[in-house]
Symmetry: C2
Subunit: 159 residues, 2 copies
């Protein structure tokens, strides 16, 4: 076997090894990753999956909700969300629309905002319809997962 | 003159030329740039310098104000701000505090939020004190200037 043939074989071996150790997620692009995140974000809110929603948050995330002091860290956000939901037993989200705009990715950071429309049905059948704007800052973990680093919301008029 | 002496002189000449063509701003770091931006942002609001505030905005910036539809683009933001100010002739901002947090820079993009406290005095001497949270997304122009790409505000309780 010639030296060049040996080197060629080592080259092919390295190429295969690199393909084996490269995670599949490296094949996706940031725009697709954020689109998948957004789809999941909406689905979790529609089915009121509180554990799933909290799992989207970075441990040191900050939630900036109207009329509230800043909620800093997942523990504060969990306590607030739990208290809000405790005040509305039997309420059901029947519509959750987020029309995301200005999705920007720079390295492991991303930002976007959305026109939001939610319909909630109370146990007595009363329908509560709300419109708002929502802004997110997302951060990509070393394992590739995007997490909510910051969320802010305020009301919008009915379009 | 020896060759090495000639090279040394060319080297010094190049160094001087580089210093002449390198703008001063390249010597600053992003953290200092954002700190300077924030200081100016607060000062402009304190002295109600509407032209100066509007000059901070990117042409395609988006302002997400409570109760309003998204204000997209500097023309829409200008019209809204002008209408707000027209309703309060003679009002004076006497305090403008923004306690900025989580300042993050990634390439030409930055984000931050602030606890905000404002005192406005009406022409009849009535004092209007407000507390809120404000979030900014900034973008650095090719000329090095940071501009507001997105702003959002909502109310906070008195601390």
């Amino acid at each position: 076997m010639t030296v060049s043939r040996k080197l060629a074989l080592i080259g092919i071996g390295t190429l295969i090894a690199l393909q084996l150790i490269t995670p599949t997620s490296a094949a996706t692009n940031p725009a697709d990753e954020i689109a998948a995140f957004n789809k999941n974000y909406i689905a979790l809110h529609l089915r009121m999956d509180t554990a799933g929603i909290l799992n989207l948050w970075a441990d040191d995330g900050v939630d900036l909700m109207p009329g509230e002091a800043p909620l800093v860290g997942k523990a504060a956000i969990t306590a607030w969300l739990t208290a809000v939901l405790a005040q509305m037993p039997g309420y059901k989200v029947t519509k959750q629309e987020c029309d995301f705009r200005d999705i920007r990715v720079s390295g492991d950071w991303a930002s976007e905002w959305a026109n939001e429309h939610q319909v909630v049905v109370a146990p007595d059948g009363k329908i509560i319809e709300s419109y708002g704007k929502m802004a997110l800052i997302l951060h990509r973990n070393p394992n590739g997962e995007w997490k909510v680093q910051q969320e802010m919301w305020n009301a919008a008029p009915k379009p």
